[in-house]
């Protein structure tokens, strides 16, 4: 035993820096979650008075909290659906291009928005979507009056959904293209001999073989259903569209940090964290069962 320890000592020592830092910045905050059950007072710190479940009943009685959950689910479900359909279709279309240089050029162009932060993206969007921006100028050509994409409650969620899909589909395309290249060409040759045209080949060969990857990507994204995109929405919303655009994360930020209601904000965050971690765990288990995917 002792000899074994001597051999291993170096390994354990190597782990120490990570263990310490992760403990401080990830595990100590778990302890901080107790303020969700207290009436937090910065002067008293964690010795603030206990209030049991009061903070939770308080938030669930807020009409705008239920609305916030609804907004979160609404936007994130459509983002997930679009985030799967668009890259699959784009990858299928791109797969028909035989010229590898042209194929790579298209791929490169659609991949660019992925690497820019939502801050820069929001800067671009504020500009192109403004009343005298390029999109409204373009619509004006057809006699359409300027649309306030970011200032109309009924349109705002769709602006978020479409722009999120726009920013992210290049990444998905790479994943699906990789899956497409691994399909055995012999299958297509056999299909051609049987008289199948390209369309039939796509329906009966390509799509079924792509299905495991599609299922895997869908399952993995389910764990994120409560993350409707803080970076994006925070940078683009305004009080005018809180009603339809506020999501759990932006709500926590406004309540918790901006209005310094630490206990309430933490309670909302805890609620979201618990549901999210269950969803992530379930989606990883499903991904393993359904698609044989393991991350470690």
């Amino acid at each position: 035993m002792l000899r074994k320890w001597k051999q291993q000592r170096a390994y354990h020592l190597m782990l120490i820096p990570s263990l310490v830092l992760v403990f401080i910045f990830s595990y100590i905050p778990f302890y901080g979650l107790i303020i969700a059950f207290q009436k937090y007072n910065p002067g008293l710190g964690f010795n603030s008075p206990w209030v049991g479940w009061d903070n939770f009943t308080h938030i669930f009685n807020q009409p705008n909290f239920v609305r916030t959950i609804w907004n979160t689910l609404y936007m994130s479900v459509f983002k997930i659906i679009g985030g799967i359909i668009v890259p699959v279709i784009f990858a299928l279309l791109l797969n028909e291009v035989l010229h590898s240089g042209i194929k790579r050029t298209f791929q490169t162009l659609v991949y660019i928005p992925n690497f820019l932060s939502w801050v820069i993206m929001a800067g671009i969007m504020l500009d192109i979507l403004s009343s005298d921006g390029i999109i409204n100028t373009f619509l004006g050509v057809f006699g359409i009056a300027p649309i306030s994409f970011l200032g109309t409650p009924s349109i705002f969620p769709w602006t978020m959904i479409v722009s999120d899909i726009w920013k992210g589909f290049g990444f998905g395309t790479v994943v699906y293209l990789a899956a497409l290249t691994s399909i055995d060409p012999g299958l297509y040759e056999a299909a051609v001999i049987d008289g199948a045209k390209r369309w039939k080949q796509t329906i009966y060969i390509t799509l079924p073989l792509l299905m495991p990857t599609i299922v895997l990507m869908t399952v993995l994204s389910l764990g994120n259903v409560l993350n409707a995109g803080f970076d994006q929405i925070y940078n683009l919303y305004s009080p005018v569209v809180y009603q339809t655009g506020d999501i759990i994360d932006t709500y926590v930020y406004r309540l918790g940090i901006q209005q310094a209601q630490y206990s309430i904000g933490t309670a909302v965050g805890l609620f979201k964290s618990i549901i999210s971690s269950v969803l992530v765990a379930v989606s990883y288990i499903l991904a393993y069962r359904v698609a044989g995917y393991r991350i470690f």
Binding site: A10, Y11, M14, P17, S18, V97, S117, I124, V174, S273
Partner: protein, 296 residues
């Protein structure tokens, strides 16, 4: 693959190129528009006459961006943060992934260590408790508040761990027979072999550090300490206010530009670094996806 040369196939191919081109343009035109806006006169921008080519070419917006505000100091903070942060990430990733790549027998408590790190991927204390820890550690207004909380990116660590496991074990065994200890094995044998994997996770870190803005906003009380993206984020909120704050020297410049051209110039400057490393990013990110799916 066998392709038919029928008329319908040709029509499809032409249509396909057209659709792909259209979608690719949708991803790139907003950037070109932003660039055109940044080089145009404010009058032309307000009139909505700028599309993809500057109207009444001027570099006033860039002059303002580079002389007024705190663009350069924020750029410097962002560079420091990205360099130090990425180095810290890489060191911790290697120090953690190497021991954890060992079996249970060779590293006592391996699964406990693993669980310790995995939990932080699933569940977090949330915004407010983490914020309170950073405050208690006295890291507010220090660059370390942007580096230490995310010092070990667990997902990248798992990628590297799987990569090490994929290497032939004999390499390490023969070094141990020659009398090398774990540290020598790591430094002399493994590090050179890990270069491609380190490049991948290193780029993940670079992009993450360069693009994050939110921690800068909450952990820095003094806007002079904002990294570039946080500074750009404040521009989204209140460009006019910042212009007014920066003093009367700029009144002349101010009269020649408006919020939109100035913002466009700074957004574009903020995007340049990522666009420059983009060709490398694309190659390695695709590789990282493949590495990440290696099963342990």
């Amino acid at each position: 693959m066998i392709y038919d040369k029928s008329l319908s196939r040709r029509v499809f191919l032409i249509l396909n190129y057209f659709i792909l081109l259209l979608i690719s343009l949708l991803c790139i035109l907003p950037f070109i528009n932003l660039l055109a806006v940044s080089f145009s006169s404010s009058a032309a921008v307000s009139a909505g006459s700028v599309t993809f080519w500057p109207v009444e070419f001027t570099t006033k917006a860039y002059e303002f961006a580079l002389t007024g505000g705190s663009f350069f100091s924020s750029l410097w903070v962002a560079i420091q943060r990205t360099v130090i942060g990425t180095l810290v990430n890489l060191v911790l990733i290697v120090l953690t992934a190497y021991p954890l790549s060992k079996s249970k027998q060779k590293l006592m408590g391996r699964n406990i260590y693993m669980g310790f790190f995995i939990v932080t991927m699933l569940f977090s204390g949330g915004l407010i408790p983490t914020y309170l820890v950073v405050v208690k550690m006295g890291l507010i207004d220090s660059i370390w508040s942007l580096i230490l909380p995310g010092a070990l990116p667990v997902f990248s660590m798992i990628i590297l761990m799987n990569f090490i496991r994929g290497l032939p074990e004999e390499i390490e065994e023969s070094a141990i027979i020659d009398g090398a200890g774990p540290v020598q094995v790591l430094l002399r044998i493994l590090l050179p072999l890990l270069k491609p994997a380190l490049a991948t996770v290193g780029l993940f870190s670079i992009v993450a550090h360069w693009n994050s803005w939110f921690d800068g906003i909450i952990y820095m009380n003094n806007p002079a300490n904002y990294p570039l993206q946080s500074y750009l984020q404040t521009l989204l909120q209140s460009f006019e206010q910042i212009m007014l704050k920066s003093g009367s020297d700029y009144t002349q410049l101010l009269s020649m530009m408006n919020a939109r051209t100035g913002r466009a110039a700074q957004m574009f400057l903020g995007a340049i670094p990522i666009l420059l490393v983009y060709p490398f990013l694309q190659k390695y990110f695709t590789k990282g996806l493949v590495l990440g799916s290696v099963k342990g």
